[in-house]
Amino acid sequence: MKKEDTVKLISAEGFEFVIHKDAAMVSQTIRNMLTSPGNFAESQHREVTFPEISTTILEKICQYFHWNLQFASGKETEFPIEPELTLELMMAANYLHT
C-alpha cells in the first residue's frame, strides 16, 4: 500500500489506525475532510484525530469500513456487532455520516 493511499485515524486514547483511503472514504465526513477544496490540516497530513471516539469503537469502525467495501463489491457476509458497543457505534456513525 503506497503511503499516499493511506490515511491515519487516531482515537481519543491516541491509538493510530492506518487504513486505505478508499476504506476511510466510506464515511462521508472523512471524505469531506480529505477532499474539501481548502487545504485543511487533515488533507495535508492525511491524519484525522477523533477526540470523542474511543479506540474500541474506532477499531470497530475501521473493520466496518473494510467490510463495507467488500460488501459493496459483492461479498455478502455478516458484520458482527457486540451489543455493548451498539450505542456508541451509532453515535459515531451519525457523526461520521456512514
Binding site: 475532510m33 474539501s36 487545504n39 485543511f40 487533515e42 470523542e52
Partner: protein, 733 residues
C-alpha cells in the same frame, strides 16, 4: 476482556449531554466564526476540519442550530459586503475580472463552509425548512454582490457593451464572459433572465433593426441575405460560446424578426435582385439561402411560394400564348419541359424538395398549360416527333426519361381526352407508315398512359397494335397461298384496321390503277373467305407505295410515295402530258388531297418527278403536268413526302374539337346514369359536381353541357324531374 465487559454491561448517558456550559455555544461559535473568516482570507490551511466539524456537530446536537445558522448568515453577509466593495472599486475592464475572481473565491469558500457545516446541512436545515448552505451562499451573493445598487446596472451594461463590441468585429475575452454568464445562470435562471437575457434581447433587437435598415438601403437582395445569414450564425455561435443554450431560440427569433420578417416583402420584390431575378439568373445559392432564412419566420415561405407561383404562371402564360411559339409545337413542348426542369432543379437544389413548393409548381403548370387549348395536340406532336426521329440512337433509359417527362406534362392536362384523340391520330400515322423508332418505346408510353388513366383510355390504342400484328400474319398467309400464282406483279401489303380503334376518316375511295386493283380484289376475296361476316373498305388516303421509275437518261430510281401519288404517277405510264382535270377524273381523288399530292410531286425541288405548266408554287385547276425526264437525284431511293401540315389547320382543329365534344357526350351521359343509379334522387348542383369529379381524370366537363345531357336523358326517360321540387331528379329504373 470482552466477556468481562459483557458482565458489566450498563447503559450510560452520553457524557457530552451533561455538559451544559452556558458559554459553551458562544465559545464554539467563536471558533467556527474565526474559521469562516480564515477561509475567506485564504488562511484555511492551518485549520482542523475534524475540530470544526465536531464543533458544528455538537452545536447542532445541543440545540444551538439556530445560533449557528444565523451566525453563518451574518458572517457570510459581512464578507460579501467587503467583497462587493472591492468589486465596485475595480476600474474599467478590471471590473469583470475582479468579479470573476471573487466569485471563484466565494465558491471555494462556500464549498469549504458547507463541508464543515455538513451536519447542520444534513439534519438541522431539512427539519427547520431553511435554505441549505450552498444555496444560501448563492442567494447572499446574488443579493449582496450582484444586486448591489452600483454593481447591478454596471454589470449589465458591461456585458451588453462587450456583446456590442463583438458584434462590431472586435475580439473580446470570451472565457471571462462565459464565466460571468455562468455565474448568473448558477444564481438561478431567473437571475440570468432578469439581469441579462431580457436586456440582451432588447438591445439586440434595436441593434438589428438599425443594421437591417442600413443593409437594406445599401445592398441587393442576395448580399442582404448573406449578411443576415452571417449574423444569424454569429448569434448561434455566440450562444454556444458563452450564453445559456436556452437563449438560442430567443435571440435567433429576434434576429429573424428584425432582419427578415420586417423586410420580407421588400426583399422578395427587390428590384433587379429580388426573387424573380434569382429565378431568371439561376442563383441557386441565393435561393437556397432565402429559403432557409424565410423558413424561420411565419409566413416567410408562403410569400416566397406566392411570388414563385405568380412568376411561373406569368412566364408560362407568356410561353403558351406567344404566337411565335405556337408555330412550332415541338419547340413549344420542349420549352415547357425546360421550364419544368428549371424549377424542379430550383426546388431540389435550393428549396430542399419542399412538398408545398412542388405542389405550387404543379398547380402553376396545370394552370397555364390549360390556358392554351392546343396543348394536348402539341404534346402529342412532341411525342410523335420524338418517336419518329428524336429518339433514334438514344439509349432505352433516355427514352424512358423523355417519356416520363411527357407523362408529367400530360398529368397537367385537363382535357386528356383531346390528347387521346390526337395521340391516336399520330400513332396511327406512325404505325401505318412504319416510321416509329422503337416499338418498345411506343408500348412503354401506352403502359404509362394506362397506369395514369386506366384501361379504358388505352384500350383502343392497344387495339391498334394488335391490328398491326394480325395484319402481318394475314399477309403471310395470303402470300403463302398465292405467292407463286402472283409472280412478278406488284407486292401488296394490307393492314386490316378494326373500325373504331383507328381514327379513320370516312374517305371517298379513289380509283386504283388496274395493276393494283387486281391484287386488291384477290386479297379481299381471300380475307373475306377466311373471316366471314366482315366488310373491307380501302383507306386509300392512308397507304404508301414504292415505285420503280426510269427517267430520260436511263437513271433508275425507287420512289417512295403515298397511295394517291402512286395513282397519279401510274397514269403517266401511258401518257406524257395530263391536265389537272384529266387526273382528277381518272383518279377521283378529293380535290384538296389531289392538290396537295400534285404539289409535292411537281413543286418540291429535288423531288419534282413531274413538271408543271405554268411554273408556279400552287396548283390551279387548269394546270397541265408532264413527266419530268430530266429528273435527277443523288440517291437511288427518293422519298416524296406529301406536303402535309404537321400542325392542324384552324378548320381541322375545329373539326377535331367538335369530334371531341361529340365523344364527350356519351361519357357524360354514362357518368350521370352511373351516379343516378347509385343515388336515385339528386339535385342538379350535386350531379354537376359529381360528374365533374368522375370525369376529371379525362377532361373538365362544361356545366352547360352536363345540363343538356341531363335534359336529353329526361327525354329518353332515364331520369325524371321530381314533381314537387323541380330541382330534384329521379332515376327511372
Amino acid at each position: 476482556m470482552s466477556a468481562q465487559k459483557k458482565r458489566n454491561f450498563q447503559i450510560e448517558a452520553f457524557k457530552h449531554r451533561v455538559v451544559v456550559d452556558p458559554k459553551y455555544a458562544e465559545k464554539t461559535w467563536k471558533i467556527l466564526e474565526h474559521a469562516i473568516h480564515e477561509i475567506y482570507n485564504h488562511n484555511a490551511s492551518g485549520l482542523s476540519f475534524e475540530e470544526l466539524y465536531r464543533n458544528a456537530y455538537n452545536m447542532v446536537l445541543h440545540k444551538f442550530g439556530e445560533k449557528l445558522y444565523s451566525g453563518l448568515v451574518n458572517t457570510m453577509s459581512f464578507h460579501l459586503k467587503e467583497i462587493s466593495k472591492g468589486i465596485e472599486a475595480a476600474q474599467g475592464e478590471l471590473f469583470l475580472v475582479e468579479l470573476n475572481r471573487k466569485w471563484a473565491d466565494h465558491n471555494k469558500a462556500l464549498q469549504m463552509i458547507r463541508d464543515i457545516l455538513m451536519y447542520m446541512d444534513r439534519t438541522f436545515i431539512p427539519s427547520t425548512h431553511k435554505t441549505p448552505v450552498h444555496e444560501l451562499g448563492l442567494n447572499l451573493w446574488r443579493d449582496v454582490v450582484i444586486h448591489s445598487s452600483k454593481t447591478q446596472t454596471r454589470l449589465r451594461d458591461t456585458l451588453l457593451e462587450l456583446v456590442h463590441m463583438e458584434r462590431s468585429g472586435e475580439v473580446i475575452n470570451r472565457g471571462l464572459m462565459r464565466n460571468i454568464i455562468k455565474m448568473l445562470m448558477d444564481l438561478g435562471s431567473s437571475v440570468y433572465q432578469e439581469d441579462f437575457e431580457k436586456h440582451f434581447l432588447d438591445v439586440s433587437a434595436d441593434f438589428y433593426r438599425l443594421e437591417s435598415q442600413q443593409f437594406i438601403e445599401s445592398c441587393d437582395c442576395g448580399d442582404y441575405l448573406k449578411k443576415a445569414e452571417r449574423r444569424l450564425n454569429e448569434e448561434i455561435e455566440r450562444v454556444s460560446h458563452y450564453l445559456d443554450a436556452r437563449s438560442e431560440p430567443k435571440i435567433t427569433s429576434v434576429v429573424e424578426k428584425e432582419m427578415i420578417e420586417s423586410h420580407m416583402q421588400r426583399l422578395v420584390h427587390m428590384e433587379n435582385s429580388g426573387l424573380v431575378n434569382m429565378f431568371v439568373d439561376d442563383k441557386y445559392e441565393d435561393l437556397g439561402r432565402m429559403y432557409n432564412l424565410f423558413r424561420r419566420v411565419p409566413n416567410g415561405l408562403s410569400i416566397v411560394r406566392d411570388v414563385m407561383t405568380s412568376y411561373i404562371r406569368d412566364t408560362g402564360k407568356q410561353l403558351v400564348t406567344d404566337p411565335d411559339r405556337i408555330k412550332d409545337p415541338v419547340d413549344y413542348v420542349q420549352r415547357l419541359l425546360d421550364l419544368k426542369d428549371k424549377y424542379d432543379k430550383v426546388i431540389s437544389l435550393a428549396f430542399n424538395n419542399d412538398k408545398t413548393f412542388q405542389n405550387a409548381l404543379n398547380s402553376s403548370f396545370e394552370y397555364f398549360i390549360n390556358l392554351n387549348a392546343r396543348s394536348p395536340e402539341f404534346i402529342s406532336l412532341f411525342v410523335d416527333d420524338k418517336l419518329r426521329r428524336g429518339l433514334r440512337g438514344v439509349s432505352e433509359e433516355d427514352i424512358e426519361i423523355v417519356l416520363d417527362k411527357v407523362m408529367m406534362l400530360f398529368r397537367y392536362l385537363q382535357e386528356k381526352d383531346v390528347f387521346e384523340k390526337y395521340y391516336k391520330q399520330h400513332l396511327a400515322k406512325r404505325l401505318l407508315s412504319g416510321k416509329t423508332v422503337s416499338d418498345d418505346a411506343e408500348r412503354s408510353l401506352i403502359v404509362k398512359l394506362k397506369t395514369e388513366c386506366g384501361y379504358q383510355f388505352t384500350s383502343k390504342l392497344e387495339g391498334m397494335f394488335t391490328d398491326m400484328k394480325t395484319s402481318q400474319d394475314t399477309m403471310q398467309g395470303f402470300y403463302a397461298r398465292f405467292g407463286a400464282e402472283l409472280g412478278e406483279g406488284p407486292t401488296l401489303v394490307v393492314q386490316v384496321l378494326t373500325t373504331g380503334s383507328w381514327p379513320t376518316q370516312a374517305s371517298t375511295t379513289c380509283n386504283l390503277p388496274p395493276e393494283i386493283l387486281g391484287i386488291c380484289e384477290k386479297f379481299k376475296s381471300y380475307y373475306l373467305g377466311t373471316h366471314t361476316g366482315r366488310r373491307l373498305s380501302w383507306q386509300t388516303n392512308m397507304g404508301s407505295a414504292d415505285l420503280k421509275a426510269t427517267f430520260g437518261k436511263g437513271q433508275k430510281h425507287e420512289l417512295n410515295v403515298s397511295t394517291y401519288q402512286m395513282c397519279v404517277l401510274m397514269l403517266f405510264n401511258n401518257a406524257d402530258r395530263l391536265s389537272y382535270r384529266d387526273i382528277e377524273q381518272a383518279t377521283e381523288i378529293p380535290a384538296v388531297d389531289l392538290k396537295r399530292c400534285l404539289q409535292s410531286l411537281a413543286c418540291v425541288k429535288g423531288r419534282n418527278v413531274l413538271r408543271k405548266e405554268p411554273m408556279s408554287k400552287d396548283i390551279a385547276e387548269d394546270d397541265a403536268f408532264f413527266f419530268n425526264d430530266k429528273f435527277t437525284s443523288k440517291l437511288y431511293k427518293v422519298k416524296i413526302g406529301t406536303v402535309v401540315a404537321q400542325r392542324e389547320t384552324e378548320p381541322e382543329n375545329q373539326e377535331t374539337r367538335q369530334r371531341v365534344e361529340e365523344d364527350r357526350k356519351p361519357q357524360i351521359e354514362a357518368a350521370i346514369v352511373r351516379i343516378m343509379k347509385a343515388r336515385r334522387v339528386l339535385d342538379h348542383n350535386n350531379i354537376v359536381t359529381e360528374v365533374t369529379k368522375q370525369l376529371q381524370s379525362r377532361f373538365l366537363p362544361n356545366p352547360v353541357v352536363i345540363k343538356k345531357r341531363i335534359e336529353s336523358l329526361i327525354e329518353r326517360e332515364f331520369l325524371e324531374r321530381d314533381k314537387e321540387d323541380r330541382k330534384l331528379y329521379r332515376y327511372l329504373a
